[in-house]
């Protein structure tokens, strides 16, 4: 491996981790760990496989066509369905960005003691400054490296000295714990899928590949990023579930505040661990704010064919810049309404899960176009895993709203 490849490998991988863990993950993993232990860990494995498959596909489309994965969706599924998907994605992202901003603000509250609502405008302004002044790659790498602080969760598991056979038994029991209903269990399956199989990762990954001017020769590098980055993200997610399991489950404590997600680390590793966890949460939610924001901007721009992206002056992509700034403003305003970030996150990831088929199908179709993809056309493995993922996501999408209503968002 050439030094430059190794460099790109580590940095790309770091950002893949940072991209995987976001507010949805923090909330969902901690809640799931506290209520169900590791009995939903298999969902994370499924999510990682699904998102890897589609990130690889959209990366391949970007390498071959120099266009992002969503660029061809309109001609494949028609402008009507594509518009429905776009409007849905915009609304979900507005909620998600609101929750991510609240996450950034809550990390700042934990560090400073000032109430998080005071930090929301600061966080939004900081996002604007970073986006406006930092180049794409640097921005991506900084929060990728900071996001590594999340690895304290893995260290914390060892420090908590768990009974590994109990952990394994919990992992190997895909059913609700006594006292919980199947409805609540299945609802959290939907929540975890929505939080972890996030389409914005796929769009951001492929749009990033276009902006970094990756070419077919970069195929190996792109795949290494996918193969190492996403499973590491998944490992972190399971570590958060395990930490919450070890600390909260036996006490019967419910996670209803983001600060609780850092508590297991504080118990295991003290002040230093707690600080690292705050840095990790800050980096993860801040990075996710940027990624969700940009992914939605890209999606809108690609539907209407606007110029977009960070590689040119903002004035040459006026519609894209305006749409992205508007989304940030809407989200910051939502965050200031004092809506509970945890509730908003849960609702947003459920809606996100329901949108998955709309966003996966065009990517799968595009990756199968032989004239377009040439030698990089989908093989049997990508098609088999992709089709199964879509089948699974359709089932999740159909079940999402009935479960949301029946379980009153997982309460019963």
């Amino acid at each position: 491996m050439k030094p430059s490849t190794l460099f790109a490998f580590t940095l790309g991988t770091l950002s893949a981790i940072g991209g995987f863990i976001d507010i949805g993950d923090l909330v969902a993993d901690a809640q799931v760990g506290a209520r169900f232990g590791l009995r939903l860990a298999w969902v994370t494995v499924v999510s990682v496989i699904g998102i890897m498959c589609f990130a690889e596909m959209s990366g391949r489309i970007a390498l071959k066509t120099q266009r992002p994965a969503f660029g061809l969706a309109r001609s494949r599924i028609g402008p009507r369905y594509a518009l429905a998907g776009l409007v849905g994605a915009f609304l979900v992202t507005a909620l998600l960005v609101m929750a991510e901003l609240s996450g950034v603000a809550l990390a700042l509250e934990l560090a400073s003691g000032f109430h998080y609502l005071l930090w929301v405008p600061v966080a939004a302004a900081f996002v604007v400054v970073v986006v406006w002044t930092l180049p794409f790659k640097l921005m991506h790498r900084i929060y990728g490296v900071l996001g590594l602080a999340m690895l304290v969760y893995v260290v914390a598991i060892w420090k908590l000295d768990p009974d590994w056979s109990t952990m394994w038994r919990s992992t190997a029991t895909p059913a609700p714990v006594p006292g919980e209903t199947w409805g609540a269990y299945l609802f959290f399956v939907v929540v975890l899928i929505g939080a972890q199989m996030t389409p914005y990762e796929m769009f951001f990954f492929s749009s990033g590949a276009v902006e970094s001017r990756w070419r077919p020769k970069d195929l190996a590098e792109m795949r290494i990023n996918v193969i190492v980055g996403f499973p590491l993200g998944g490992l972190l997610a399971i570590a958060i579930q395990a930490a919450a399991f070890l600390v909260f489950f036996d006490l019967g404590v419910q996670v209803d505040h983001i600060s609780q997600t850092a508590l297991p680390v504080a118990l295991a590793l003290g002040q230093v661990g707690f600080l690292l966890a705050i840095v990790g949460i800050f980096a993860a939610t801040f990075g996710a704010t940027l990624e969700t924001l940009f992914a939605t901007g890209y999606e809108i721009a690609q539907y209407f064919g606007w110029s977009y992206g960070k590689v040119q002056p903002p004035a040459r992509a006026a519609r894209f810049t305006t749409a992205t700034l508007a989304l940030l403003l809407i989200s910051a305003a939502l965050a200031l309404t004092t809506l509970d970030p945890i509730t908003v996150t849960i609702v947003a990831v459920v809606f996100s899960a329901a949108l998955l088929p709309f966003l996966f199908v065009p990517v799968l179709l595009t990756a199968n176009d032989r004239e377009l993809m040439g030698e990089l056309v989908n093989g049997r493995l990508a098609n088999a895993v992709g089709s199964l993922t879509i089948l699974f996501s359709v089932a999740v999408a159909l079940a999402a709203f009935p479960l949301l209503v029946l379980t009153r968002a997982g309460v019963s």
Binding site: G305, W306, S307
Partner: protein, 128 residues
């Protein structure tokens, strides 16, 4: 059928770029004309008015009505159109043989936002 192309793959919904490969918009519809019994592509239509008229229904009609209102009165009525003679190549992207600044009638929103909002921000650069 090698000398043929599919209108749905090559034209409709495809990305339109100018001579410098700067994205302008998507081909929202295509106008055909019948001359001496031969039907051929006359111009490509871009913008929310053409898309709205194509989508139809309440949402499509609303979109088209708003877009029609926003167009300058000096422009000819109907959706923004580009003559087929300006097309340089149409695969994989539809590329024109003129730069964006010479296409006065299209992407009015882009120009308006650039002039009135984004260019005024520090460090935003110039649109043209």
């Amino acid at each position: 059928m090698n000398e043929h192309v599919s209108a749905r793959i090559a034209l409709l919904d495809n990305q339109l770029v100018d001579a410098d490969r700067r994205p302008i918009g998507r081909i929202d519809d295509v106008e055909l004309s019948l001359e001496n019994g031969t039907l051929r592509v006359d111009s490509i239509l871009i913008g929310a008015q053409a898309l709205g008229e194509r989508l139809g229904g309440t949402i499509g009609r609303g979109m088209a009505a708003v877009a029609a209102r926003l167009r300058p009165r000096t422009d000819p009525p109907g959706p923004a159109r580009i003559d087929v003679a300006l097309i340089e190549e149409f695969e994989p992207l539809v590329r024109l043989n003129v730069p964006f600044r010479e296409l006065r009638e299209v992407a009015g929103l882009e120009r308006w936002l650039a002039r009135h909002a984004i260019e005024r921000l520090p460090g935003a650069g110039r649109a043209d």
